[in-house]
């Protein structure tokens, strides 16, 4: 019973006037995990999220959310979901506290209970001292935290976060991630879309890599990296116009070579060995960076493109 997936999709498809945004994807989200959709803008992540949130009927395939059908049982599903949209749609004419109370009322909660939960949630997202402030006066990070608090007002089993940290500065991102960890520890299932590989690595237990409406790969961040790319990556940058002359020499020095417009990536199990080989082949790059492989490399391998361009 408890092993039943919270969300299950089979051949899930979404079309808009002849354009296919989501092209027959399969995935399952288990209770208690943080599940991610990683992909660039336009990959179909937000369309998938809207279908899960029961505000966008699938064009094809099957989808069950909390073991219900989002098309026919939308209100029942939405009453147990929390949604944090990509763009904050807070009520700018109300105070921070009022935003939460009004939202709780939409779920049919008694007024007193709404106020109690609003106090509690504002403390949780560290906005307790801003309760009576106008929403307009909040910073971007604070607004996003308030939107998360709003999404929690009905104590949802499943919280959907669409690009939760896009547009936030690093400090605000970390503050937000910290709150999301806390939620996960408390047992809330999270579904996150992101085009930041560091966010996916930080937050997600399991994720799917999405590209052009399809799922390119699935697994934990570690699994994806070990099964698709090597442990180490060497990035070489050359003076303008010089890069092309070295490609042939470098080919064969590593497991795999990736030539980008501004740099060459060498994928290798042992960076030290490869670096030595590069030097003895007489290649002198302007800059060399050695790093661990990331989900960005997985995406590049799978799609031939970078996540953020």
């Amino acid at each position: 019973m408890t092993d039943d997936p919270l969300v299950a999709a089979r051949s899930l498809t979404k079309r808009f006037d002849g354009f296919t945004a989501v092209d027959g994807i399969d995935f399952q989200v288990r209770r208690g995990e943080a599940f991610g959709f990683l992909g660039p803008n336009g990959a179909g992540k937000s369309s998938t999220m809207r279908m899960i949130a029961a505000v966008s009927p699938p064009s094809d395939g099957t989808l069950s959310v909390l073991r219900r059908d989002p098309v026919t049982e939308g209100p029942a599903i939405r009453s147990r979901l929390g949604v944090v949209p990509q763009e904050d749609n807070l009520d700018l004419e109300l105070t921070v506290h009022e935003n939460l109370v009004v939202y709780g009322r939409y779920y049919g909660l008694p007024r007193e209970e709404c106020r109690r939960r609003a106090d509690e949630l504002l403390a949780f997202v560290q906005l307790g001292d801003r309760a009576d402030a106008q929403v307009e006066s909040l910073s971007g990070g604070m607004k996003r935290r308030l939107t998360i608090a709003r999404g929690l007002v009905n104590r949802p089993e499943l919280l959907l976060l669409d690009e939760p940290t896009t547009g936030l500065d690093p400090q605000a991102r970390h503050a937000l991630w910290d709150r999301l960890y806390r939620l996960k520890q408390q047992g809330t299932t999270l579904i996150i879309t992101t085009h930041y590989m560091d966010e996916a690595e930080q937050l997600c237990d399991r994720l799917v890599v999405m590209d052009r409406g399809r799922i390119a790969a699935e697994g934990s961040p570690r699994e994806l990296i070990t099964s698709h790319v090597t442990r180490d990556v060497i990035e070489l940058r050359f003076a303008v116009g010089e890069q092309d002359t070295h490609v042939a020499t470098l080919d064969g020095l590593a497991d795999r070579l990736e030539v980008l417009p501004d740099r060459i990536l060498l994928y290798t199990a042992d960076a030290d060995v490869t670096e030595a080989a590069i030097a003895s082949a007489g290649v002198r790059p302007e800059a060399t960076v050695i790093r661990r492989a990331t989900l960005e490399d997985v995406f590049l391998k799978l799609t031939g493109r970078t996540l953020v361009d």
């Binding site: 808009f16 949130a53 505000v55 966008s56 009927p57 939308g74 209100p75 029942a76 939405r78 009453s79 979901l81 949604v83 949209p85 763009e87 749609n89 807070l90 009520d91 700018l92 004419e93 109300l94 009022e98 009004v102 939202y103 009322r105 939409y106 779920y107 049919g108 709003r150 999404g151 009905n154």
Partner: protein, 257 residues
């Protein structure tokens, strides 16, 4: 379902409580200014000429109920225009509401219910103004509240449907420039529609405003209505019902795609 619409109404009321000052001046003070300028100023001239004989009553008494109908139209139209556009597009607050168990029809009915409340408030105040100007005794003025609310909603619901299909706010500007303002001037508020060129007269008759004016004038100053009152009511209810159905359908198509 009905309770969900009430929650929407409650949220709108909370908004209004914070922002009522701006609208109080326009909806509460404007009719007084109009009655002073047009009713007492211009009216004196009208009554001195052939006005009273042609109209069958002093100009001020003719104008007062007409202004109530026109104000109801403006409140109804305004509420269905910018706030709805903000909910759909500018602030996307409707998306936030629809993420909860609340449905599109609850948003539409809750919003209209709130507009109805505002219309009730406005029309009740108008009854007091009509009494102050000696146009109608208070009970007769209060009798005009219901038709005023109905007339306002007969505008609000179809305009909500119209707003739901707009890509940009230019359509709203045009609606007021080419729709609401001409109606305000030519639908029997300031002079009887019989004075219009024959070609334009039927045009005034198909708009909700003329039916509202007829009903309100009948209720407030006992002026005989052009059609049977029930027929006027039926037309207004028709506008409200069709508008409501269209508004729900168009908003669903737009917001739940």
């Amino acid at each position: 379902m009905a309770t969900a619409a009430l929650r929407v109404l409650e949220a709108e009321a909370l908004h209004y409580r914070r922002a009522w000052r701006g609208s109080v001046v326009s909806t509460f003070l404007t009719p007084i200014l109009y009655l002073l300028a047009m009713g007492m100023g211009l009216g004196t001239l009208v009554d001195r000429g052939a006005g009273t004989a042609e109209l069958g009553l002093p100009y001020l008494e003719f104008l007062g109920p007409g202004l109530l109908a026109a104000t109801a139209m403006q409140v109804g139209a305004g509420d269905a225009a910018w706030p709805v556009m903000a909910g759909i597009k500018w602030r996307r607050t409707y998306d936030a509401v629809l993420a909860t168990p609340v449905a599109v029809r609850d948003i539409v009915t809750g919003h209209l219910a709130f507009t109805g409340l505002r219309l009730t408030l406005m029309a009740t105040w108008f009854a007091v103004v009509l009494r102050l100007f000696g146009i109608a005794p208070l009970p007769r003025g209060l009798l005009a509240v219901l038709p005023a609310v109905l007339a306002g909603l007969a505008f609000s619901a179809p305009i909500m449907a119209f707003t739901a299909s707009l890509k940009s706010e230019q359509g709203l500007t045009n609606l007021f420039r080419f729709g609401i303002v001409p109606l305000f001037l030519f639908s029997g508020t300031f002079f009887p529609v019989e004075q219009l060129p024959d070609a334009l007269e039927p045009l005034a008759v198909v708009t909700p405003l003329w039916h509202g004016v007829e009903l309100i004038r009948g209720a407030a100053v006992g002026f005989p209505t052009a059609w049977h009152p029930a027929a006027h009511v039926a037309v207004l209810v028709g506008f409200l019902t069709v508008g409501l159905v269209l508004a729900v359908r168009r908003l669903e198509r737009r917001l739940l795609r």
